[in-house]
């Protein structure tokens, strides 16, 4: 067990995969010589060569499109998109090709492709560098979407994603890249399972990626106020581990979902829809959502307040408990 940053944990996971499976290779802009703008691929080109850690031309469609072709030839490409806001040129290849190939080919052709995307706000950056595009992908049949909140999960999940025979959008909470934590080699949860990171009995608080840390803080503060909040780290956004969430809500009767992405059609909407359907009589209050607003991401001087944080989550918890 070692203590390391989330970025380094992913680096370790990539290194592990590159070492163990010669069919793994990395593609992306600036991932080689530079080691990526966040240094997540630092040192990998030196150790595995430019053929396996490929500095690509500046074209996201090219990155994903060639990954599709590589997968057809038996490779397991791991693509890096430099920032959340730059994934869109690749969306045609992702949605019409990567997501659909298995189905199109009557199950014959697998697409074991991982697309790593640093996502989310809070780093004081400029436009297109702070977005949360997860719902676009989670709405797309054929894709899997996961995100990690701790170095431990980061290490384990990147490995699981690379082993997956389905395409995985792997979302990295960029403002947590430098957060440190223990990395164990304990037997781990399946890639598509949510994790209850704190037990509680009065209310269920669901978060993922960058908001797991503030969600735990919310539970701590709530406890001081006499409320027992259960916190679930969703981890997998597609498929959703509805079972874990519903089991919790059946006990607590109350649910708040938090994410940075815009509210309308965000992950919270789907969870609310499922929970009200499957735990209708257990709900003592409506499912509440604490999310980014339905505006484009604001200039960074506004982001601290614009982003859902501890205060807004606490307010929602209070509101739910008051029902």
């Amino acid at each position: 067990m070692t203590t390391t940053t989330l970025a380094r944990a992913i680096n370790d996971g990539l290194r592990h995969a590159l070492s163990n499976d010669p069919s793994v290779l990395l593609l992306g802009e600036d991932i080689g010589r530079l080691g990526g703008v966040f240094r997540v691929t630092d040192g990998l080109r030196a150790d595995f060569g430019a053929d396996r850690v490929v500095d690509t031309p500046l074209g996201e469609a090219g990155i994903v499109g060639t990954a599709v072709g590589l997968a057809m030839r038996g490779y397991r490409p791991v693509c890096e998109i430099q920032f959340d806001g730059f994934v869109y040129p690749a969306v045609n290849q992702i949605i019409t090709q990567l997501a659909k190939y298995r189905h199109r080919s009557d199950g014959r052709i697998a697409m074991p492709v991982v697309i790593r995307i640093p996502y989310g706000g809070g780093i004081g950056s400029i436009e297109h560098h702070s977005e949360s595009p997860e719902a676009y992908f989670a709405h797309t049949p054929g894709l899997k979407v996961v995100t990690c909140a701790t170095p431990d999960d980061a290490f384990t999940m990147i490995g699981q994603a690379i082993s997956s025979d389905d395409p995985v959008i792997f979302l990295e909470p960029k403002r947590r890249y430098w957060s440190k934590g223990a990395v164990t080699d304990a037997p781990s949860l399946g890639l598509h399972r949510a994790r209850t990171v704190r037990d509680g009995s009065d209310l269920t608080l669901v978060a993922y990626g960058p908001l797991v840390t503030p969600a735990l803080e919310v539970a701590r503060v709530a406890e001081e106020e006499g409320h027992s909040v259960e916190v679930i780290d969703l981890r997998s956004l597609a498929p959703l581990d509805t079972a874990t969430v519903i089991a919790s809500v059946l006990r607590t009767g109350r649910l708040v979902v938090a994410h940075e992405a815009s509210r309308t059609h965000g992950i919270g909407a789907e969870i609310a829809a499922r929970v009200q359907e499957e735990a209708f009589y257990a709900l003592e209050a409506p499912v509440l959502r604490v999310t980014g607003y339905d505006t484009p991401y604001p200039p960074s001087r506004l982001e601290e307040e614009w982003l859902p944080g501890v205060e807004r989550m606490l307010a929602a918890v209070d509101r739910s408990l008051a029902h």
């Binding site: 010669p22 290779l25 053929d51 396996r52 690509t56 031309p57 074209g59 469609a61 090219g62 994903v64 499109g65 060639t66 990954a67 599709v68 072709g69 590589l70 997968a71 057809m72 030839r73 038996g74 490779y75 490409p77 040129p89 045609n92 290849q93 019409t96 090709q97 659909k100 298995r102 189905h103 199109r104 080919s105 009557d106 199950g107 014959r108 052709i109 697998a110 049949p141 054929g142 899997k144 997956s164 025979d165 389905d166 598509h192 498929p239 959703l240 509805t242 079972a243």
Partner: protein
């Protein structure tokens, strides 16, 4: 025996397509594309083109009879497809668009399997590994990047000693042959494919059938210069051949594939041809083009010119043509019944093929769907009960 070819009259005009077999059926020489006519099995090429055309004609008929929902006809493009395809080795990989029925034929793909997609029984229909012929791709340009990525894989297989280049004595890589249309040149992705292929010097050949139309858009909507010239901008060689000349297509593709296999990098081939039918059976070409143009191109028929050549040179017995005709007729009849016999898809397949394993939600949805199907069944059995 072919006569010693004379030099093509057109050879001097830089942008005019290279021709090795004239519309009159004469084999000519062009220094820009050296070719030994003895290296080609002309009767076999003739047969391929006739069978390909028959496949096409038959599919159109099946569409008219309601057996297919749609059919994109290759009528007029037989030489381009057969010429390109017959340059391939078995371990080369092909990335077609949706119109390469003639290439499929030459690869030895079961022609009936081409029909499922247009009949609506599948979105694919064959195993790409069977004949090294990928599935049809309907999103214009998307397959160009797949072909490039596949070629990146080949190069890496080589580095990993996964390629047995020693056996068979070729000492060469497999190559990738990517097909695209003239319209596809305008999609950004196609241009990215050129960039990736060139900067990595990949074993890939882009074969563009410039049939001069992208549905209703004449080529002038896409570009002011020939397709082959696009290559110059990306630093890969471009070559323009008469797409109705099976020999020129064969020669150009052979040369480009050889270059690709030996590490010489990619080539863009433009086969200048004509889509003699409407875009698909759902299209009406009379709304946007002149029948005079169609007539003009009827006069440049790719099959007729090889027929003329084979006849003039006496390379085949007259019976040969009858035999091919008879074979095509048999084939067409078989195709018809095999189309009707294509298996109906099972309603659970979309659920099962979305992921490697069904998710819990898909399990739920499939259960729901099965119940729905059962109730439909019931409703059908007790028709009228509800109302």
């Amino acid at each position: 025996m072919p006569r010693t070819p004379r030099t093509s009259a057109k050879a001097k005009d830089r942008s005019s397509p290279i021709q090795l077999l004239t519309p009159e059926g004469e084999i000519v020489r062009d220094n820009k594309l050296p070719f030994d006519p003895l290296s080609a099995d002309l009767p076999a090429l003739y047969r391929d083109m006739v069978m390909t055309r028959r496949l096409d004609t038959e599919a159109i008929a099946l569409q008219r009879q309601g057996e297919l929902g749609l059919w994109p006809s290759l009528f007029g493009q037989e030489a381009a497809q057969v010429g390109a395809a017959r340059a391939l080795l078995p371990n080369d990989m092909v990335f077609p668009t949706y119109r390469e029925h003639g290439v499929a034929w030459c690869r030895g793909l079961d022609p009936a399997s081409l029909l499922g997609l247009f009949r609506g029984t599948t979105l694919g229909g064959w195993d790409p590994a069977d004949a090294n012929f990928n599935l049809y791709t309907l999103v214009i340009g998307a397959q160009t990047l797949h072909g490039v990525g596949y070629a990146m894989g080949i190069v890496r297989d080589l580095a990993r000693d996964l390629l047995d280049t020693s056996k068979g004595g070729t000492g060469e890589l497999p190559a990738v042959l990517v097909f695209l249309g003239d319209g596809a040149l305008s999609e950004g992705e196609t241009n990215e494919a050129f960039i990736w292929a060139t900067t990595q010097s990949l074993p890939v050949v882009f074969f563009c059938q410039n049939n001069q139309w992208a549905i209703s858009a004449p080529y002038s909507v896409q570009s002011t210069v020939p397709v082959a010239q696009r290559a110059a901008g990306f630093g890969l060689p471009g070559v323009r051949v008469d797409g109705n000349d099976v020999l020129a297509c064969l020669a150009a593709t052979r040369r480009a594939l050889r270059k690709a296999r030996t590490g010489g990098g990619p080539t863009l081939i433009e086969a200048f041809t004509y889509r003699r039918n409407a875009h698909t059976t759902a299209d009406d070409a009379s709304r946007y083009r002149e029948s005079a143009e169609e007539k003009e191109w009827a006069g440049k028929d790719p099959i007729a010119r090889l027929h003329a050549h084979l006849t003039a040179t006496g390379a085949v017995e007259p019976a040969f043509f009858d035999e091919v005709e008879a074979e095509a007729k048999d084939f067409a009849e078989g195709l018809r019944s095999r189309c009707r016999a294509l298996p109906e898809p099972d309603a659970s397949l979309p659920f099962e093929h979305t992921y490697a394993e069904m998710t819990p939600e898909l399990h739920r949805q499939l259960a729901h769907h099965r119940a729905h199907l059962a109730s439909l069944q019931e409703t059908a059995e007790h028709a009228g009960d509800r109302a």
